[in-house]
Structure formats: structure tokens, C-alpha cells
Amino acid sequence: MALLEVKNLTISFGGLRAVDDFQLSINKGQLYGLIGPNGAGKTTVFNLLTGVYRPDEGIIKLDGRDITGLKTININKAGIARTFQNIRLFKEMSVLDNVKVGLHNSHQYHTLEGIFRFPKYFKVEREMNERAMELLKVFDLDQEAGYLAANLPYGKQRKLEIARALATGPKLLLLDEPAAGMNPNETGELMDTIRFVQKEFDMTILLIEHDMKLVSGICEELTVLNFGRILTQGKTGDVLNDPQVITAYLGE
């Protein structure tokens, strides 16, 4: 059974069908790409999957559970975490604390235990620090743990966002243009990191991307969106050679 099962997902904004009859099926452990020209509705799909928007029609199932119309935080608790096209870090907090916020729901103690510093506070905080440092190490960010997130270079900010999303212990990770604004070197490094995350965390990943090198390099399957509708779906190699896709990208 597929981990993520999406059926005829549709949403309109003021008469415009931003996403129309969208289908998707991703198996556990897959690295899946969602591509398409600007304005095709890719980010809207992410927003629908994460509960930022409620779909007009359609069903979203994660691991067999219907999560359609849940609130964002409950979708995260159900197992979907994401990153954002325009990086959204907690800029005035330390790198370590950014990840620790991601650990919020898995490492709990009561507010009063926190204020009055019960032994449980120290125990859980220590666990959180250890877990957060492990995650930071994966992304080669452990040296910068004490920095303010705002002071990280761009590429590292993108990585921190992925680390934070992983901290919530998701079943499915959504990456919205992770390579945007990166130079070829950084992109190459990012590809390795994404592959590493897929293997090491046994993670299922859905990513939106413009960079064809990255897409063809790491995605096993692709869905191409154009004007809110699916243009084609299938194995990466087949999709990229599809004349329809080439037309959509390059124009007539």
C-alpha cells in the first residue's frame, strides 16, 4: 500500500482552479518529484497536503489514514513535515533551538515542571539536546549550534530547515524547492544530503524542484503539473523525454 494516496484533489481561488483533479501515490521510501512551470500549482499542492488550505474536493490519505481537512498541526502530528520555498526559520533563535522546537511534541514535560525546574526538565532537555545535536551533525551544522539561525549562510539555512522538519519525526518529508538560490556546488552537496536522509532515516520524500539536474539525479518518479492539472506522471526518465513536458517547459 502506498504511504501517501491523493485522489482527485481540487481547490479554486475566486473561480480559478489552482489545482484540478490532482492524483498522487507515493510508496514508502520513495523519492518523488513534483515539477512544472512557474504558477503551475506545485506549492498549492504542498499547502493542501499540509492543511494550509482545505481542498474543495478530494481525499488525502497518509499511511491508510484519511487526513483530509485536518489542521496543519494535526497533519504534522500525523506524520507530514515540510520546508518552505522562501526559507522560514526561527531567525532570532539559535540553530540548536530551531531543531529543539521540532522536537517539541516528541519530548514533553509540563509547563510547571519547566518553570520550577523539576528533575524531569533536566532529563528531557538533555535528551532533546542530544537528539538535536545528532540531527545537526547529519547536516554538518553541529559546529554552528550556538549561532543565531539568521546568521547562517544561505545554503546552511536550507539544511537547517530540513533538519527541523526531520526533528518532528515525519513519515513523509515535503521539500519545496530545496535547491533554490544555490550554486552548482551547493546543489550537488544537497543532492547527497537528500539521498542520505532517504537512506539513513528510511524517509519518503516528495520534492518540488526547478533544477532539472537535481530532479533527474535523485527522483525515482515524477509528476508534472501545468496550469493546475497533471500533464504526465511516471518514471523520471520517461517523463523527462515526454514531448508534452518539453513543450510545457520550453513553450511552442
Partner: protein, 294 residues
Amino acid sequence: MSFISYLINGVSLGSVYAIIALGYTMVYGIAKMLNFAHGDVIMVGGFAVFTIVSTYGLPPILGIVVAVVVCTILGMVIERVAYKPLRNAASPLAVLITAIGVSYLLQNAALLIFGANTKSFTSIVSVPPLKLAEGKLNISGETIVTIISGIIIMICLTLFVNKTKAGQAMLAVSEDKGAAQLMGINVNGTIALTFAIGSALAAVAGMLLCSAYPSLTPYTGAMPGIKAFVAAVFGGIGSIPGAMIGGILLGIIEILGKAYISSQMADAIVFAVLIIVLLVRPTGILGKNIQEKV
């Protein structure tokens, strides 16, 4: 009959609020700041008229001119000295606190010059009261003048913003400062002009307010300033028709609340209505609803 006269008084007070709220809303629209000192510019306008007319015994028309000129210059100076340097500050709170500082400054300067005693302001309105329905309905000259000036100002301002180049520049700057600059609009000049107009309106509001409620202290402007701010938010801050509607509604609610519910509770009623409106329409009656893009 008394209901109608309350209603007329409400519209009159509301017109004053609307004129002040216009200044608030224009400045907010263009500089994205709450000009807490706006209410105190009203007070300065009141004192300017008071000095010319009551102290020196000169004709009221001269008082009006002097008040408008003084407030216009004052508004522009405040903008230049206190607000402009903070336009790109890291937090919008910086300019808010500075505005509070300017408010303290104006109040305490007035306190030094004019003293803390309440001045009784002689009305500068010489229009006779209007007696309607065989004398049952008595509308004071101040009320008539206030409502008429309110209408004139609103029409002029709407025409100015929609029909003149400077007005269009204002709209452009309030929409997007950077883009307006690229289109060759003098952003600094436009912002200064907005402050000038807002302060001139405050001067007019000052003398209307003092003519209708003839007591003047350095703190006269504070509460009407806050109420007008409420009116601007009520109507949808940044919107000129919104400020007019908000101001007039607020005036009516205040007067009717005083008359029929409780005079001590009038302010609470005004604020409660504001809260209810904002809970139903989080950006006010005519405010645009902007959703954050994810």
C-alpha cells in the same frame, strides 16, 4: 424628537472624529505608523486659535489661518526630525515610541507655555442656531458648521486623492514605496505632503472640537486622538472612506450610548463596539483583507 437631536449631535461629533481619523489613516496608509502625536497636534491647533482670537482679540478667520499654518509646519517638522530617520528601523515599535515621545513633548511644551489651567475657549462660530419643528429641535451653529466642514473636507480630500497627481502619488506610495520610487515618484516629498495635510486637518478638527466643547488644556487632544484612532481602525485603517464612516459611526454610538445607556460607560461602549466589529471583520469595515502567502 430628542432622538433626532442626539443623532444630529452624534453626526457632529462624528464629523470631528472623521476629520481627525482622516489624518490618522492617511499617515498610517503611507508611513505604516501609528502617529500617536496626532491628537496633540489638534491641541496645538486649538491653542493657536485661542491665542489669536481670545488673547490678542484678532478676527477668527486669522485664527483659523494661523492654526492651519502652524499645525502644517509642525506636522512636517515632526515627520522630518522624529519619524523620517526611523523609517527603515528594524522594528516598527521604534517609531511608535518616538511618536509617544513627541506626544509628551507637545503636551509638556503646551503646559509650560499656557499652564495647566483649563482655558475657556470662545466659540469662533458666528452662525445662528437653527430652530426646527416649532422650536422643539434646536441645532447649534457649531453643529451646523462642524457637519458642513466635515462634508466639504471629505469631498475635497476624495477629489484630491483620486483626481490630482499628488493624490495618485500618495496612493502609489502607500501601496508600494519601492515601486513608487522606481516610477519616479518623490517618496519623501509625498510622505511630507501627507503629514502636512493630516496636520492641517488636525488644526481644523482642533478648532471645531474646541468650539463645540469649549474647554482647552494641554491634554485636550489626547482622548479625541485615541477615539479617532479607534474610528480609523473601525472603518479599516488606511482607507479614506473607511475613516469617514468609522468617525461618524463612532460619534453617533458615543452620543446615543451616553444618552440612553450610561454617560459613565460611553467610552466603554465605544470600545466594545470596536472590539465586536474587529472580531467579525478583522480588518475593519472597509479594510482590505490580506492573507499571508505561504
